[in-house]
Amino acid sequence: MSVLQTPNGFTLDNGGRRIVVDPVTRIEGHMRCEVNVDSDNIIRNAVSTGTMWRGLEVILKGRDPRDAWAFVERICGVCTGCHALTSVRAVEDALGIRIPKNAHLIREIMAKVLQWHDHVVHFYHLHALDWVNPINALKADPQATSALQQAVSPRHAKSSPGYFRDVQLRLKKFVESGQLGIFKNGYWDNPAYKLSPEADLMAVTHYLEALDFQKEIVKVHTILGGKNPHPNYMVGGVPCAINMDGDQAAGAPLNMERLNFIRARLLEAYEFSQNVYIPDVLAIASFYKDWLHGGGLAATNVMDYGDYEKVPYDHSTCQLPGGVILNGNWDEVHPIDPRDPAQVQEFVTHSWYTYGDAKADADKGLHPWDGVTEARFELGPNAKGTRTRIDEVDEAAKYSWIKAPRWRGHAVEVGPLARYILAHAQGVGYVQDQVADALGRFNSLAGTSLTARQALPTTIGRTLARALEAHYCAHMMLEDYDALIANIKAGDRATANVEKWDPATWPKEAKGVGTVAAPRGGLGHWIRIRDGRIENYQCVVPTTWNGSPRDSRGNIGAFEASLLNTPMERPDEPVEILRTLHSFDPCLACSTHVMAPDGAELARVTVR
């Protein structure tokens, strides 16, 4: 029982009742969360544990750098492609390969399609059930639902009372069957759900609409990368060669028909995020106007590397600029350099890894290019249960398969919200307009007068920023499409630079870094190449930042920070915990990958 003040300004009290949520569902991968609630059921201590490890970077060692994208792409099938993109960027950076402009634009379109898709699927299929009660939708009046739909989004065509009645009927029969499927054992009578039946019905209807449409937008990946999930990438450019009017163009990867197909899908996506996604988030948020919890680190420290360069290889033209904001000072944005060994460092004090000895574990932080990993699974002295049946972890000791990355020692939050705070602070016009417009609509729906600084660093703000970013991506990818057409029209049809394809042309040693604005935040891959093979590979991924355990100095990460001081309606039903954790869109398979500079070290992993 102790009260603890963390260096980054949070008060932790593990004196109250301990609640364990394992598995945390509707996320990618495996995660566990433990909180302590006080007598008023307010969360006073939070512990998030990554509960899987696959060791991909160990597996990458000694392989052909040109193959790495496919391995790391399999880190995650939800943000599918963003690790692949980061990987080819890292390899190209190491080898000094510049890709053709068409390849750049095609990759940009793919990245933004992924961003859009990931955000939509996250909101509707992984997150919505934290706000929306499908059972309550049965009570809705389809006529009133239609009116609500037309009020929040007059441009959305599917809004007739009959349409909503059909959906409601289907839902009703489904519920009456008694086999609730994915809704089984939900918390449907918990007062934490605040939507009106009509809003619930509208949201459930859009859950199904989004489910239908998300399979359409990914077809852009199918055309450019051959399949989705896990489209194909390539070092030096893109594999989809362009043939507009030459012989056998119909059999080419990209021709007029294929480009038209892409454009049709991009336009549909733009309309969906404009007419369905953003209005839904605002409408739902207006019912939760009093639930402004979950800000955590977002109110103080946020970080991103910056992405979406308007001019290839000119990082100053990023349409979502990077940087670091500390202590909530939006007036000062610190530049970030992923190559600087003093900036990004990872700690293992509370992670199931060791840097060799207790002292190093306690205070050593390593830059990804110099990282060390040796798995060490051990529970602390105050853990409850056994080694293979954990009842409660001991957060004073090692307690997660996630490392703790820090920027100059600071715990930071990453993600769409971080990017939107950074873009807003750095005066990106589109973002500022979007935020102003969204807040105006929110305030008018909710009858509040919240400012960006009040509304954004919250669970709702995180969810809203994601929606706005999805739409910004839809806007940008249409611009990318036009730029691609213009570039082809100007006579450039190159899609790959294969000058340095042959490893014989590479230097004996090289190192590089690639960064991407991944759906869940800033993603970086660091690679070292020697004699044409991967010597060392490390990914520091968004959920590693957000889901990190405590570091050597006791700073808590974004997940843990965001849960603090949140009241729970019913401690046994973790609706509020899920709601805030889901607002980060956790990706555990991503976060729990760490590298080993020497694969042999891992032979020490206990085998019983």
Partner: protein, 357 residues
């Protein structure tokens, strides 16, 4: 336990007309490659069979199988989840979490003993007592064994569950192990691919529900209906292969004409899957059409067979990585040198001992 409802009842209750229902049945027949004479069978099956509970577990994985599954166009995944199966447990989609989620497993296992399908995405790691993948504070492998106990059948989704996939690639630090090596007493349907094609996944489920039996499997336990041919066998670029017309380097003229990707490492000739027939994402395209060779993602151990861009497999037994040609040519050079030296010495000796013997 209340009487289970049939597909037809559920669909009718959900406002689907009999006419649409019959149309759905004939589309299902077409999707499964069945003749119109079998439509009445499907209609009958749908009218009389209850919805089968599916418990979908996740081990070490990347969730690409679930992501692929939700992209199914025919049937739409909402129809699968609302009207065909009862997806009672799936970490990725289910509303509940923690204890409430775990409780579902026991409930379904008891209520539907021997009548539910276990679908596994990912695989269990066995090193570190299985604690490289923890669910509910316990090793995933325990959950897997427990749920498998009373399952009617097991579906191994994707290459992870079927073969091990990326986490089992050399040196497999967590000792990730495919499902069939852990569960040995149940029928297992392997649906490999990283991920499998969405319509293949729903096709397998639809087949099992419609015909109430496991699809015919090949020697490796894969449904013959989707995995009996190589991608190469039905590739639209196959004429270029037979003609001897190849892409020599990415973005060359042949690449722009859609010639065969064999020389840039396409694994289509050794990969069993339906990519070139059913194609991806509602038949939109597939990797070869998009200009990149097949990487063989539905084959056992495809991660450890050398570069995506080389036809010849890396052979690790020789210390440094090498392929068959490099090993063969090196050996031939060595043997050739030995022969030359031997011949020279022989000639010398012969000259010296002329008249001997």
């Amino acid at each position: 336990m209340a009487r289970l409802e049939t597909f037809y009842e559920v669909m009718r209750r959900q406002g689907i007309t009999r006419r649409s229902f019959l149309k759905y049945c004939s589309l299902t027949a077409a999707a499964l490659g069945l003749g119109p004479e079998l439509v009445p069978d499907i209609v009958h099956a749908m009218e009389t069979k209850p919805r089968t509970p599916v418990l979908w577990l996740h081990g070490l994985e990347c969730t690409c199988c679930s992501e692929s599954f939700i992209r199914s166009a025919h049937p739409l995944v909402k129809d699968v989840v609302l009207s065909m199966i009862s997806l009672d447990y799936d970490d990725t989609l289910m509303a509940s979490a923690g204890h409430q989620a775990e409780a579902i497993l026991e409930e379904v296992m008891e209520e539907y003993k021997g009548n539910y399908i276990l679908a596994v995405e990912g695989n269990p790691p066995l090193n570190e007592d299985g604690m490289f993948c923890i669910v509910g504070g316990r090793p995933f492998v325990e959950q897997l064994r427990m749920v498998a106990r009373d399952a009617k059948a097991v579906i191994s989704w994707g290459s992870c569950a079927s073969f091990g996939c990326v986490q089992a690639a050399r040196p497999n630090p967590t000792r990730a192990t495919p499902v069939h090596e852990v569960i040995t007493d149940k029928p297992i349907i392997k649906v490999p691919g990283c991920p499998p094609i969405a319509e293949v996944m729903t096709g397998v489920i639809t087949y099992m529900l419609t015909f109430d039996r496991i699809p015919e499997l090949d020697r490796q336990g894969r449904p013959k209906m989707f995995y009996s041919q190589r991608i190469h066998d039905k590739c639209y670029r196959r004429p270029h292969f037979d003609a001897g017309q190849f892409v020599e380097a990415f973005d060359d003229e042949a690449a722009r004409k859609g010639h065969c990707l064999y020389k840039v490492g396409c694994k289509g000739p050794t990969t069993y899957n339906a990519c070139s027939t059913i194609r991806w994402n509602e038949g939109t395209s597939f990797p070869i059409q998009a200009g990149h060779g097949c990487i063989g993602c539905s084959e056992d151990g495809f991660w450890d067979k050398g570069s995506w861009y080389a036809r010849l497999t890396d052979i690790h037994a020789f210390g440094i990585e090498a392929n068959a040609d490099r090993i063969g040519a090196t050996a031939a050079l060595g043997v050739g040198g030995a022969i030359a030296a031997h011949a020279a010495i022989s000639a010398l000796k012969r000259a010296r001992h002329k008249g001997d013997v």
